[in-house]
Symmetry: C2
Subunit: 405 residues, 2 copies
């Protein structure tokens, strides 16, 4: 044990992101659940108090203009953009991931069809392909999008996507990383395959944004969505975002054309004329408290390169897997997260027969991961605040817990 | 002037809601824009700080259970219920008003049709009637709901609704009060007319919830939506709500079936099985900061009857209109808010040729209302914190401003 602990100390000493930890509220808990809810960035507390007391309490209605509330969705979108490899003015923040999946998929089908009426679809493209292993909400919403656009839904394991693509494929919705196993899917390759079939590619970035380079622009992704409360640390239920590639913006035809996406939102016109750009992806009045908390939280990314985050993420998960291998009795857990770096997100999932009970005991000992049905222990590694020493200690507590169980 | 000012002082002295003002953060500004963004209830500040620092910062992921985050949408729905005349378990909070209008209208069409597929609608009921004078977002979303369910959209002035109802009407969406004129529509009568035609009635309560009794249950309303940042003082962009009448809940078939509305949200099942009750109207992860700020804001309603609020609202708007009549030179402004109590919400709208410029000057003098295109001065009267003295002073400043303009 001494050897791994000593190596952890060395790795931490050399960690160029090590100082970032100071920007978060943390304690003795080893928090490996940042892939579910990111820790609190210290700057959020003062900022939220200012928004409530000064901007709402004192300026009140004037803040929509004077405090920049009205333009927050696109301003914060531009703040997220470099983290996912997007140039400016392609991301708007707002609504939940589920709602954005609906907007993105319906709009993708409409673009793929060239604008045919939903209730009278042509027979050309009438299939939506969806990740069968996805976080379920994407599948539920995809089913609704299919139903409402006259499409058939085709669930498929992401790697098998190319085998179901064809001239009838309108849109494909895939997760960049699997929420349960932590497997990273081949975004560049699958995007290219979808395009070769003439389909639009929609990616869900919930488990990768803020953990590794995504390269939306570079890989030609058409539309994307993601939450902001995992690796982006925006707070519980902080608003999600929608990416609309520049070249599709003029044809982005939202199924939720709310007044915030209107070219003249205060013109109060009876007809909907969509705004130029990604702003047309906005719907109703943005939830300002949650949104400005997110904006403050994004300050931790100042001076951080996503490449450095990715390098540390892989080093952390490699090291944790090594510690588990060294400490945990053989056969007691089985890693389901791929060993290959190209197939790994920023979490480690271990299959374990009594995973629910084991996770309860871990949490009671201050090692916080989570349990996912039916038998997965999930440990998320947020490179901005998790240390190698914590990875080593977590593996040690896990081994101890399993030995005692 | 002395007479009206003296009357104002008397009315304030006798005001049983007068003490409520102390529960809000207010200053010398005469704030008559609570129909756009309600003032800050004092209790919100400490509560939001606790949510950020303790619940998110310290408990982190545990708060979904331990701090009651997960059940907040239905818990807060039950808090709003008595304010709109609804028994428990029919309201969920979350998403924006626009998104809830989409859920409600699509679900209403599906119920009216008995579950026919959207992309292959039967010919029975294929019309959605919508308030042509509505706040535009309702019309935009209604158009999308019509397009996606194979319906024709029929805009109509609310009072003329009965003339367009028929065997093809699936659903009707009306505003309870007009956002511009402040006119209150006949919810009981129009709901009965819709039902007589076999249609489902959806009401938008943005401009009435918290200002007057709505009586959703009593009048047989089928579905309703509303925002919480006007007379409910929930804060900028605080989440909206959705009412699903008990008897329709089992057939409520959401176009946005997100994982939060699943019977077993953590079962991670590939098929969507809706939860029992109004909870099936939930979609994605709720925006907890905005939502718990709203919950704290609703504390101001403790011990307040909506009937008392309505009585004061009518007294305030009557008195303001009287002061305007007394102070403002004849012909300079024209009230567009009806004089009849049964036709008045909780705002006074005055038509005025140079309304935009007049409102800018009023705001510069500390009388905050708002301007609505093309020529309306809008003054909202929130009975919980606006006094008769303020109504009198506002009219005086308005008269002075118009004399000098």
């Amino acid at each position: 044990m001494a050897t791994l602990a000593a190596r952890a100390a060395k790795l931490d000493a050399a960690d160029e992101l090590g100082a970032k930890r100071e920007e978060f509220v943390l304690d003795d808990t080893i928090y490996l659940d940042g892939n579910s809810l990111g820790a609190l960035p210290k700057a959020v507390q003062a900022r939220v108090a200012e928004v409530v007391t000064h901007e709402w309490g004192t300026l009140r209605i004037r803040s929509w203009e004077e405090s920049g509330w009205w333009t927050a969705p696109e301003r914060i979108g531009n703040r997220i953009a470099p983290l996912v490899g997007a140039a400016e003015d392609q991301i708007v923040v707002g609504d939940s991931t589920s709602v954005n999946v609906f907007k993105a998929l319906v709009a993708a089908v409409r673009i793929a069809r060239g604008g045919t009426d939903d209730a009278h679809p042509d027979e050309g493209r009438d299939e939506i392909v969806v990740d069968a292993t996805t976080f379920p909400t994407d599948g539920y919403i995809a089913e609704s999008a299919a139903r409402m656009t006259g499409c058939r839904l085709i669930p498929v394991a992401p790697a098998d996507t190319p085998s179901v693509l064809g001239p009838r494929t309108a849109a494909v919705l895939l997760n960049h990383a699997d929420y349960r196993t932590g497997r990273l899917h081949d975004l560049p390759g699958l995007t290219a395959a979808g395009h070769a079939a003439g389909a639009l590619m929609v990616w869900d970035l919930c488990h990768t944004a803020g953990a590794l380079p995504v390269g939306l622009d570079a890989h030609g992704v058409d539309l994307a969505v993601g939450c902001t409360y995992k690796y982006l640390n925006g707070g519980p239920g902080s608003p999600a975002y929608l990416y609309v590639r520049k070249e599709h913006q003029a044809r982005f035809d939202s199924p939720l054309p709310g007044w915030n996406g209107h070219a003249q939102p205060f013109g109060m016109r009876p007809e909907f004329t969509p705004a130029e750009g990604a702003v047309r992806g906005r719907v109703g009045t943005p939830d300002i408290l949650s949104m400005l908390a997110l904006e403050a939280a994004l300050g931790v990314w100042d001076g951080v390169s996503v490449e450095a985050v990715r390098a540390k993420s892989l080093a952390l998960t490699d090291f944790f897997l090594e510690c588990v291998e060294a400490y945990v009795p053989k056969g007691r857990v089985e890693p389901v997260t791929p060993a290959a770096h190209t197939e790994r997100g920023s979490q480690v999932a271990l299959r374990c027969a009594d995973a629910g009970e084991v996770m309860r005991r871990l949490i009671a000992q201050g090692v916080v991961g989570d349990f996912r049905e039916p038998d997965v222990l999930r440990f998320g590694f947020t490179p901005l605040y998790v240390s190698f020493a914590e990875a080593e200690r977590a593996a040690r507590v896990l081994a101890h817990t399993l030995a005692g169980a």
